[in-house]
Symmetry: none
Subunit: 152 residues, 2 copies
Amino acid sequence: MARLTDVIETFIKEIINETGGEAEIQRNALASRFNCVPSQINYVIGTRFTTEHGYFVESRRGGGGHIKIKQIAVSKPYNRFMHLILSIGDSISEHAAAAHINNFVDYMLITPRDGMIMKAAIGSKALKSSNAENTDYIRADILKNMLMRLIV
Amino acid sequence: MARLTDVIETFIKEIINETGGEAEIQRNALASRFNCVPSQINYVIGTRFTTEHGYFVESRRGGGGHIKIKQIAVSKPYNRFMHLILSIGDSISEHAAAAHINNFVDYMLITPRDGMIMKAAIGSKALKSSNAENTDYIRADILKNMLMRLIV
DNA sequence: ATATAAATAGTCAAAGAAGGTCAAAAAATG
DNA sequence: CATTTTTTGACCTTCTTTGACTATTTATAT
């Protein structure tokens, strides 16, 4: 018997294909359509539509709320970009992060100005209030989020 | 399902654009136009036309009363950034930070692309590995560092 | 002038409408 | 049978809508 998670995953992917890259869903509506609890939708999104899978997710609560799942552009330059993003890993030092950013600039995937802003965001001064054990993890998240944002 | 709040927000912004910076509305008239209770207008103003969003609101009650929503005049980017940097304090919420960034974009002090990168850097997804008590502090540092970088 | 009515706008809290989190239970997998 | 993945549900947070009550200003009738 097909897993519900897979069914919902497929359903969302169909919407993404039909609309050319983006699905805007309502959690409760989708849950009742598939006869499951709402949090199952979160499970599907959390396991099948992650950054690693090439998706970017946004949401809003309250009346008229929704969840938007965007597929990252799959054109050639972005494949390479995505590859680099994935190579960053869960944790990264300031030095390594800056090297990556410089690299992106060199390959002209981002502008020098983008690079400046990004380096300011991941610098040790910016992260000084974090607990030392977390700093490199936070830095990796920030870096990936900034880069992802540019390709969705 | 479109939120009424967004519809009203857009309506007011159109007036502001048409008149070059100021909308003078009547609360009850607007409410009946959009078929809602008058206090909804206050809600829209209170959530979408705050100082942080770059607006200044005045009103009068009684016969011929009205609400005036003015767009705050812009000063030099350097001054705006510096002012914000100084006024941010040690800690800031994602909501407030994003409002400031959007404001800079609206006033063309930074590009939409810059804004996207910055919002990605201060978003809760980017800071999820931080300890909850620190998040707003880290966010403030990141924002200040990015802005500083642009004026130095 | 003064009191009263009418016309506005403001405040605040409750109800409603989403979505999020986390951990336990159940099912599938190897 | 141990481990991983999926399903479920209780509880939480955020945002919007609504309405009862309050405050202020102007108009009108003594």
